[in-house]
C-alpha cells in the first residue's frame, strides 16, 4: 500500500522546486485546515494526561455501550471505558508508530536517493537493484512474519513498514537529484572542490525538499493505515492500551449492540490520513504550478489592471473591419493569468490579411505575437481571456464562436503550425495515423482512400519516401522532416489561411531555407494566405509581402516589407533594423536599443516604447493614435523618424 503513494505524487521528473514550497502550500485553505488538524492531534497525544477527561482503561460497568452523552461525548465501549479518552491516548501509540515509520523511510530513502542520483554509476545500480527487490516484497506477509518473530513489538513492525516503504521515496529523490545535478551551479561547486557530501546536503537537499515533502506526507498516510490495520488484527500494541485500530476491532465485536462505536474509531483514522494526503496534495500542486507557469514570468508586483494608456487604433470612431480582407482583426485584447489576476498581453491589436497574401508579424520574444496567432484561432492558454475585439474571417466573427462552431473553421479554413515540430506531433502514434485522422475528419473519405490521401499530402511537402515516413513515429524523424509532416497535417483540410508561428526557429539554417521555400510553393499552389509569425527579419524578408511590427503587445508599424526595410518610421523598428548584425559597421560596436522590453503588467502609460525612445516627448504618456504617414504604411507614433533625422533612412542613434 505504501507504494501507491508513488501514484499520488508527481512523476519523478525534474522539478523546479523552490525551497519555500511548504510556505506557499500554506496559502491554500485545505492545506491550512489539514495542518491545523494534524497539529491538534499531535498536541492532544502529547498532552494526553491533561486533555483526556478519563483514564483510558478505567471501566464504568454501569454505563457500558452508551452512545454519546454529556458524561461521555463519544460514548463508551463494552467495559464502560470513555471512547474520547481512548481516542486521545490511542493517538499516542498510533502517531508514534507513524513517526517511527516515516523517520525510517526518510532516512533510508533520502540517503539512498541522494547517493544514487548524485554519485551515479555503481552506487546507482546497486541501490536501484535493492529498491526493486524491496518494492516487490509483499508488505503484509512480511509484517506478519516480523510480528511473529518479535511478538507484539510495534516499533519493530513500524520500522519494517518504513523499510518496505523507502523505495518510492528513494526513487523520487533520485529523480530530483539527477535533475539538480545537471545544473550549472552544482558543476561550479564541484569544480571548486567542495566535497560531495557537503554539496549534497547543503545544495542538493534543499532543492529536492519539495518532492520529499509531498512523498512523505502521502507515505505518512499509508503508514497510518498500516498501523491501524495491524491494530485491527490484534497485533502490535496489546490491550488494554488503546490504539485506533484496536478501537475499530472493539467496535466490530459489538456492531449489533452499539453500531455508533464504528463512527469515532473510523473517522479519526480517516480524517488523519486525509489530512496527510491533503497536505501532500497542496505541496505537490504548488510545485507543479511553478513548473507549468512556463513562458509567462511570475510578476512580483500585484496585478495592475492596465488598460493603461493603450489606445484603440484611432482616436474617435474605431476603424471597421475591412470587407475585402480575408482576415480582419480589430482591437484584439488578450489578457493572461499571472497568479493574482489577469494581465493584458496583447493590447488592442488590429491587422488585415488579404486573400493570397503572405503577411509577417515581427517582434521580439514576449511581445505577444504567438499569443495573437493563437488568439485568432481561439486557442488561448487556460485562464486567458480575449477581452475585446473582433476577428472577422470571411464575414464571420471568430471571437464570438463557441466550441462546436469552431469545428467548421479549424483545419478546414484556418490552420496553424508551431515551432518545435517534434513536440507538436503525438509521440505515441505513427505519422501516418495522425494524418489519417485529420484526413478522415476534413474529407469524407474512408478506407484505403484515406491513406492514399495521406501519402499524397506527404508527397506534397516534398518528403522523399512518403510510405516509409508514414510508418515512423515522430521521434524517428529529423527536425526538418517533422516540420514537413506538421505542414502536411495543417494542409490536410486545405485551409484558406495558414498561420505559421516561428516555423523555422527550431531548425538548422539550411533546413530553414528549404522549409521557407516549401511554404512559398505550397502557398502559391493552394492559393492560401500565410501569416508568418517570427522574430527573424531575414525570414520575413524572404517570404512576406507585408509585415507588422509588434512591441510590448501593440502593433507599432506596418507596411510592405520593402518599405519597412527601406524606410522604417517607428523608432523601434528603426532601432531593430539597426541592430541587425549584417548592418553592423566594421570596427564599430553593434548598435543596440538601450533598456529592456517591459513585461506585461509593467507597461508604461501611453507609448510602451517611450522609456527607450530617442524621440520621446512629454506627450508620449498619452494614448498614441495610429497614423498613416505614407499610403499603406501605418505606425503608432506622434513623431516622424525620417523628419527627425533629416530625411536620413539610416539606423537610429545609439542610446547610451
Amino acid at each position: 500500500m505504501t507504494t501507491l503513494t508513488d501514484a499520488l505524487s508527481a512523476p519523478a521528473a525534474a522539478t523546479d522546486a523552490r525551497t519555500r514550497v511548504w510556505l506557499r502550500a500554506m496559502r491554500r485553505p485545505l492545506a491550512v485546515i489539514s495542518a491545523g488538524y494534524l497539529a491538534l492531534m499531535i498536541l492532544a497525544a502529547i498532552a494526553a494526561p491533561l486533555v483526556a477527561p478519563y483514564d483510558p482503561i478505567a471501566t464504568d460497568l454501569n454505563h457500558v455501550l452508551s452512545g454519546p452523552t454529556a458524561l461521555h461525548p463519544l460514548g463508551t465501549d463494552m467495559l464502560g471505558r470513555d471512547v474520547l479518552s481512548r481516542v486521545i491516548y490511542g493517538g499516542r501509540i498510533t502517531l508514534t508508530g507513524v513517526a517511527e515509520a516515516v523517520l525510517t523511510a526518510l532516512f533510508l530513502g533520502v540517503s539512498a536517493g541522494l547517493l544514487a542520483g548524485f554519485i551515479g554509476g555503481w552506487a546507482d545500480r546497486v541501490i536501484s537493484w535493492v529498491t526493486d527487490i524491496v518494492m516487490a516484497i509483499p508488505v503484509i506477509v512480511t509484517l506478519l512474519v516480523v510480528l511473529a518473530v518479535v511478538g507484539s513489538n510495534e516499533t519493530a513492525a513500524m520500522i519494517a513498514v518504513g523499510i518496505l516503504g523507502f523505495p518510492s521515496l528513494a526513487r523520487v529523490v533520485r529523480g530530483a537529484t539527477l535533475a539538480v545535478r545537471q545544473e550549472l551551479y552544482i558543476t561550479a561547486a564541484r569544480a571548486f572542490g567542495l566535497p560531495n557530501r557537503s554539496i549534497m546536503v547543503r545544495h542538493v537537499l534543499p532543492r529536492v525538499s519539495g518532492p520529499i515533502i509531498v512523498q512523505t506526507s502521502l507515505f505518512a498516510g499509508g503508514a497510518l493505515l498500516a498501523e491501524t490495520g495491524l491494530g485491527y488484527l490484534g497485533l502490535g500494541v496489546q490491550a488494554p492500551t488503546p490504539t485506533w485500530g484496536g478501537l475499530v476491532a472493539d467496535a466490530s465485536t459489538v456492531i449489533d449492540q452499539q453500531p455508533w462505536l464504528l463512527v469515532p474509531s473510523g473517522l479519526v483514522i480517516g480524517l488523519t490520513v486525509l489530512a496527510f494526503g491533503l497536505l501532500g496534495d497542496a505541496s505537490r500542486d504548488t510545485t507543479a504550478e511553478q513548473r507549468a507557469r512556463g513562458p509567462v514570468r511570475h510578476s512580483s508586483k500585484r496585478l495592475v489592471h492596465r488598460t493603461s494608456g493603450s489606445a484603440p487604433d484611432t482616436i474617435g470612431a474605431p476603424r471597421p473591419p475591412d470587407p475585402s480582407a480575408q482576415l480582419s482583426v480589430r482591437d484584439l485584447t488578450i489578457a493572461l493569468p499571472n497568479g493574482a489576476g489577469l494581465t493584458t498581453a496583447v493590447d488592442h491589436l488590429s491587422l488585415d490579411i488579404f486573400p493570397g497574401e503572405t503577411v509577417g508579424l515581427l517582434g521580439e520574444s514576449g511581445c505577444g505575437k504567438s499569443l495573437t496567432g493563437r488568439g485568432i484561432l481561439g486557442l488561448l492558454p487556460p485562464g486567458s481571456q480575449a477581452r475585446s475585439g473582433r476577428v472577422c474571417f470571411d464575414g464571420t466573427d471568430l471571437a464570438a464562436l463557441n466550441r462546436t462552431a469552431w469545428r467548421r473553421f479549424r483545419g478546414s479554413r484556418i490552420a496553424l503550425i508551431s515551432q518545435d515540430p517534434m513536440n507538436c506531433l503525438d509521440p505515441t502514434f505513427t505519422v501516418g495515423r495522425q494524418l489519417d485522422e485529420l484526413v478522415r475528419r476534413h474529407t469524407g473519405l474512408s478506407g484505403r482512400a484515406v491513406r492514399a490521401r495521406t501519402l499524397e499530402l506527404l508527397a506534397d511537402v516534398k518528403l522523399p519516401d512518403p510510405e516509409q515516413v508514414a510508418q515512423r513515429h515522430p521521434h524517428q524523424l529529423s527536425g526538418g522532416m517533422a516540420q514537413r509532416v506538421l505542414i502536411a497535417s495543417a494542409l490536410a483540410g486545405t485551409p484558406e489561411l495558414l498561420i505559421a508561428d516561428e516555423p523555422t526557429t527550431a531548425l538548422d539554417v539550411t533546413v530553414q531555407a528549404e522549409i521557407l521555400r516549401l511554404l512559398r510553393d505550397l502557398q502559391r499552389t493552394n492559393g492560401m494566405s500565410l501569416l508568418l509569425i517570427s522574430h527573424d527579419w531575414g525570414v520575413v524578408a524572404e517570404v512576406c509581402d507585408r509585415a507588422y511590427v509588434m512591441y510590448a503587445g501593440q502593433i507599432v508599424e506596418s507596411a510592405t516589407v520593402t518599405e519597412l526595410f527601406a524606410t522604417p518610421r517607428h523608432p523601434y523598428t528603426a532601432g531593430l533594423l539597426g541592430a541587425l548584425p549584417r548592418r553592423g559597421q566594421p570596427r564599430q560596436p553593434l548598435a543596440t536599443i538601450g533598456g529592456a522590453v517591459p513585461e506585461p503588467g509593467s507597461w508604461p502609460a501611453g507609448c510602451h516604447f517611450r522609456p527607450r525612445c530617442p524621440l520621446a516627448s512629454p506627450e508620449c504618456v498619452e494614448a498614441i493614435p495610429v497614423v498613416e504617414p505614407a499610403p499603406g504604411h501605418h505606425m503608432r507614433c506622434i513623431h516622424d523618424l525620417t523628419r527627425a533625422q533629416g530625411g536620413s533612412d539610416d539606423h537610429a542613434e545609439i542610446r547610451a
Binding site: 508488505v139 512480511t142 510480528l147 496534495d281 503525438d426
Partner: protein
Amino acid sequence: MRALILRRLLISIPLVVVVSWLTFLLQQLAPGDTARAILGEHYTPEAYAQLRHQLGLDQPLLVQYGHWLAHAVRGDLGVSSITGLDVGAEIGTRLGVTLSLIIATTVVAAVLGIALGTLSAVRGGAVGRAVDVLSLAGFALPSFWLALVLVTLFAVVLRLLPATGYTPFAESPGDWLRGLILPVAALAVHGLAAVAKQTRNGLLDALGRDFVLSLRANGASELSILLRHALRNAAIPVVTVIGLVFVSLLNGTVLVEAVFAMPGLGGLAVQSTTQHDLPAIQAVAITFTLIVVAVNLLVDLAYGWLNPKVRVR
C-alpha cells in the same frame, strides 16, 4: 522488448530466493513455534521433542532450507505441518478466490478511476475539486472499517447482499458476482482514488502539451483528442498506478477476506502465521511474490506497447 523481459526476470529470481529465505529465517527465530502450537495444552517436554523430530525441526537451518528448496523447484511446496494436507493444493483452491477478488477490484478501480479522472480533468473547477477531495477521502478510509460498514448496511440492515462466503464461478456465476460486490466495493475505493488522481493529472499534463494545440488547431475533434491522444499519452503513469493497485490489494485482501469470511490466500496467511505453520506461510509468501513479479512484467509489457520509445525508467 526482449531486453525488458530479461531484465525483469533477472530481478525476479533473486527476489523469490530472498523472500523465501527471509520468511524461512524469520519463522525460525520466532519464540512460539510449530510444535508448540500443535501441542497446545497437551504440551509435555517429551511430546515436544518427539514432534520436533517428526517434523524435522531439529536439523540445522541450512539443511532444512535446502530440503525445502529442492522440493520447491520441482513444484512440491510440502505439506502443512498442522493439517498434513498438501500446501500446493491448498494454495490452488484458495488462489482462485483471492485472484477473483483482486482482479475484479482492479478492473472496477481502473474503469471507474479512469472515468472519474477523465471527468474531473475535463470539467475542472468545482467538479474537479470535488472529485479530488472525494477520491482522497476514499483513499483515507481504512478498508477493513469500510468493509464492516458495508456489511452492516447492505447485508444486515438492508438484506440486499450476502454477508459472507464465496461461491465459485463454476458453481453459479450469478452468486459469484453477488458475493463479490461488497468485498470489491470495500477494497476498490483506495485504488479508485489513486487511479482517478493519476488519470486526471496525466490528462491535464497531456492536454497542456503542444501537440494537443496543433491537433486542435488543425481541426481534430475534442473527443478524439481526449480519448485517443491525451489518454494514450497519459496512459503510462496510469498503467503504473493500476499495477501498483493490484499489488497493494494483496495487502488489503488479508483484512477484507477476514471480514467477509472468504476462503482466500489472505486468510491462509494469517492462519499459518498464528499457527506457525512454516511450509504454509512460506508457500503463501512465494505465491504473493510471484504474483507481484507477474504483474510487474505485464506492466512493463504494457509500457512497450504504449510508448514506442520504450523508455526504460
